[in-house]
């Protein structure tokens, strides 16, 4: 590793969780999720008349037109697409030191990835329990969102540890969180 990148590794860590090698795969998964969710949302918005379902016959249609899918003003897949878009955006913004230069984006990233994954799992549970049906692409989307949780959390841990060190040094958590210039470099 180049010398100028060594300071990007959080203290006490063996690697930098904010490096591109760590982040880009998650962004890639988010884009896959975005593509799936967008396709499903377009079906729910009647842009497509049919939905691709290789295993469970009419089940996908049943799930995607269910009462649960219409619980909010916009179709649930559209909400999922927005979630994946936020994930991808929050994954790409900032440099390789963002765990300390802009903790807010790392926290937004973690919060976007975590709950989105858990909502996906809830929807997976509801498919067989409420509707006795399975939707292949919905399951794929859920798998994608669950796979993203683990790799996003290490970066959040690095940011939280940094904010903890700043707090112990009596530096304003608010300023540290938003990455104010005046607090940069005060704590490593």
């Amino acid at each position: 590793m180049e010398i100028n990148k060594l300071d990007a590794i959080p203290p006490g860590w063996s690697y930098n969780p904010a490096s591109w090698g760590q982040r880009l795969p998650i962004v890639g998964f988010a884009l896959v999720g975005l593509a799936i969710a967008t396709y499903l949302a377009l079906f729910q918005l009647h842009v497509f008349d049919t939905v691709w379902e290789p295993f469970f016959g009419g089940d996908s249609r049943k799930i995607l037109t269910s009462a649960t899918s219409k619980i909010l003003p916009i179709p649930d897949a559209a909400l999922g697409a927005i979630g994946y878009f936020v994930d991808a955006l929050a994954g790409i913004i900032g440099g390789i030191r963002r765990w300390r230069t802009m903790p807010w984006i790392v926290i937004v990233f973690g919060l976007a990835v975590g709950p989105l994954g858990f909502i996906s799992v809830l929807l997976v549970v509801l498919q067989p329990v409420l509707y006795d049906a399975w939707c292949t692409l919905c399951l794929c989307s859920a798998a994608v969102s669950v796979i993203m949780i683990g790799p996003a959390m290490d970066e959040m841990l690095a940011s939280l540890q940094y904010m903890k060190r700043a707090k112990d040094a009596n530096i304003s958590t608010w300023k540290v969180f938003w990455g104010y210039k005046e607090v940069q470099g005060k704590v490593l």
């Binding site: 860590w13 790799p151 959390m153 841990l157 540890q161 112990d168």
Partner: protein, 115 residues
């Protein structure tokens, strides 16, 4: 998740429902545990595994194949949840470090500051 359809007790309502709820949650915690920084989530599967061992009696399963399935899967998940696996990287003291001041990352940051 699929056992009721495969083992042929999909028509019983309580058993498949229980499995359809517990299955995805166990899978989720297991997948999140693939990564070292979140390996601790494997332990969240311990209570779920214990529930699988108890469920046939608590819910009164009337299907022996379903009972056997629940016991075997429960025992496997319980046993495998305690396998920590290799931790090859270091994480500044991990999640527990957020609650103490004298942590690995704090000490290391001080050392670096003096250089």
């Amino acid at each position: 998740m699929a056992s009721s359809a495969i083992l042929g007790y999909a028509s019983a309502k309580t058993i498949p429902d229980n499995e359809h709820i517990v299955g995805p949650i166990i899978a989720t915690f297991a997948i999140i545990s693939w990564w070292e920084a979140t390996r601790v989530l494997r332990l969240y599967n311990v209570p779920l595994a214990v529930w699988l061992l108890l469920a046939p009696w608590v819910l009164g399963y009337d299907h022996s194949l379903a009972t056997a399935n629940s016991m075997i899967v429960g025992a496997l998940v319980l046993g495998l949840s305690f396998v920590k696996g290799k931790i090859e990287d270091s994480y500044g003291g991990g999640w527990a470090s957020l609650l103490k001041s004298d942590s690995v990352h704090a000490k290391e940051a001080q050392k670096r500051g003096k250089r």
